[in-house]
């Protein structure tokens, strides 16, 4: 039995329909109409103890709703959730002692009191033994660098500081599972790195299972061996980041700048995508053709001045998955024309070859 077990869970909300105009307003008063919004639709997955799983999806995809159901805050409309052998929403009190949750856009700390006082309050609420509390506090404030602001009232903290304090607060009672909903909001690059190694540390040293949502795919790529992609309430993908690349973007792009302008030529195992001045771009499948072979065979024919091999950015691949509506996923997307961001990049790659290459480019 996995630690977290989610079986065809659906969550629907009722939203009041507001009709327009004078008659509509009048009708709203007497005969309210509602529409059902399905935030999470027949979602199933299982997470084993000790995993770090990234949960990603575009805005409004149902990520937060899932996390809230998993932490017992919301009750599923249908389906079954079982975590640590408990039903979160029904055995909420007992369950809450064993989990920690951080919602980046909301604080769990008391607004007007110093951070440390909130920690003392949580110690009492969760009945954390003094020894364990002091040990955890010392460790976390050291790892996350809370020392500078632990005596400052929460309302005076910056967003990033507050998130770090919130993460500490969620871990003081040694939970078995940590849910993180957008934990990197407002966190600077240094703290982000610190946070990442901290999460890795508590995952490995304490076997804390972590489920986190974020829009920062860089974060996911560095931290989570496994990702779940959700959109429109459906799970689109469940597997490793590496598999996403191989499944959805197996093409690489070879950009070559020749010594002289030369006519277009064809190459076995690669396709000429574009040609401009002394530069040419070839697309090739990374599982069928090796870059070295390609380069060698080109080098035999023409003198090469410069070259770069580009892999699709994980951002581009994920964007492609988001853009492709739920349920209509194509399993093979081996054409660059299906990658709009890539085409945009191709167009922007003019002039010197060093201007477009392996570097990380953000749109």
């Amino acid at each position: 039995m996995p630690l977290i077990h989610v079986q065809s869970v659906t969550k629907q909300f009722r939203r009041r329909l507001r009709r327009e105009g004078f008659r509509g307003t009048f009708a709203n008063l007497f005969i309210p109409q509602y529409e059902a919004i399905t935030a999470v639709d027949q979602v199933s997955f299982a997470i084993e103890a000790g995993e770090i799983v990234g949960y990603i999806g575009p805005n409004g995809a149902g990520k937060s709703t899932t996390i809230k159901m998993l932490s017992g805050i919301l009750v599923p409309t249908s389906g079954a959730i079982e975590v640590l052998g408990l039903i979160p929403s029904r055995q909420r009190k007992q369950y809450a002692r064993q989990i920690g949750a951080v919602f980046g856009q909301r604080t769990s700390l008391w607004w007007d009191v110093p951070v440390i006082d909130s920690f003392y309050l949580l110690r009492d609420i969760y009945k954390v033994p003094e020894m364990q509390f002091q040990r955890n506090l010392a460790l976390f404030s050291d790892l996350l660098g809370l020392g500078e602001f632990i005596h400052v009232p929460v309302r005076q903290l910056s967003l990033g500081q507050r998130v770090l304090a919130d993460i500490t607060a969620a871990l003081l009672h040694d939970p078995a599972i940590l849910f993180l909903d957008e934990p990197t909001i407002g966190v600077d690059v240094v703290s982000k790195e610190r946070l990442r190694s901290f999460l890795r540390e508590i995952n490995q040293a304490r076997q804390v299972t972590i489920l986190l949502t974020t829009h920062d795919l860089n974060e996911i790529e560095k931290l989570c061996p496994r990702v779940l992609i959700i959109d429109h309430g459906h799970i689109l993908y469940d597997g490793s980041i590496e598999d996403i690349r191989t499944r959805y973007a197996s093409e690489r792009l070879l950009a070559i700048e020749f010594e002289d302008a030369i006519p277009d030529f064809s190459l076995e195992g690669a396709m000429l995508k574009r040609s401009q001045g002394r530069k040419k771009w070839f697309a090739f499948n990374r599982f069928e053709t090796s870059a070295t072979d390609l380069i060698a065979s080109i080098n035999l024919k023409y003198p090469v001045a410069d070259l770069t091999v580009t892999e699709p950015e994980i951002e581009d691949v994920i964007r492609l998955i988001y853009q492709d509506q739920a349920g209509r996923m194509k399993l093979e997307l081996n054409s660059f024309s299906a990658l709009p961001a890539w085409n945009a990049r191709l167009r922007s790659c003019t002039g010197r070859s060093s201007g477009c290459g392996y570097s990380i480019t953000w749109w």
Partner: protein, 249 residues
Amino acid sequence: MYRQEFWLRILNNLVVMYGAYWLWNTLYDRQPQIFTISRGQMISYGMLAMLMGTVFYASNQVRYYLMDQVRTGAIQMDLLRPLDLLFHLLARNSGQMIFSVLTLGLPGFLAGAMFLELRPPSSLQDGLLFLLSLAPAYLVSFALNFLVGMIAVYTMNIQRIGWIYYSMLAFFSGQLVPLWFFPPFLAQMAYLLPFRCIIGIPLSIYIGKLTLGETLSALGLQALWAAALLAACQITWSRAHARLTVQGG
């Protein structure tokens, strides 16, 4: 609470209590025969009813809190804790209530006794039973506010419903007019509703209107209402939980 606020609220209490004093005194002068109790009893009842009304105002915090938490979505943080929502709010509000008794109730009582002919309870026994009856009175007030607050889970806004609750309370609790002055139909209604547990019953005990037997059965009724309403709170919450929406992300 700021210093000025403290004094202003005591002053406010005194003004309202003086209003009750003047009203019942005047009525007693005109038609003493319609009162089945003495002038002193009536004046004490009238003034204490006003005072208790403002002291019990603290239990309104429960429904304001619930409405705010649901409307802003902050309720999710309450639910993240290993605490029962009902007892969490009861603990939170008990503190506010004790504060209200100490900073409004006691000073108001002392001021009334010094300046406005507010009489001590009819006997030591009645005084103690009165204090005892305040506990279930508070629980009933808390539970009713919790139930009104639960409506926020469905409608998000309970401002207007709060006003209706407030006027029902003022009228049917016996705060404005003692229930024994009500015409039969309204009296019947008031006796079936729980509101009189909050003000009417404790004050009837205070002024010595009830015999010991009546007092004990009134206390039993209060306890029954308190238990029933708290149970209703728990059931209502477990149903509302399934319908809860966390607003704002």
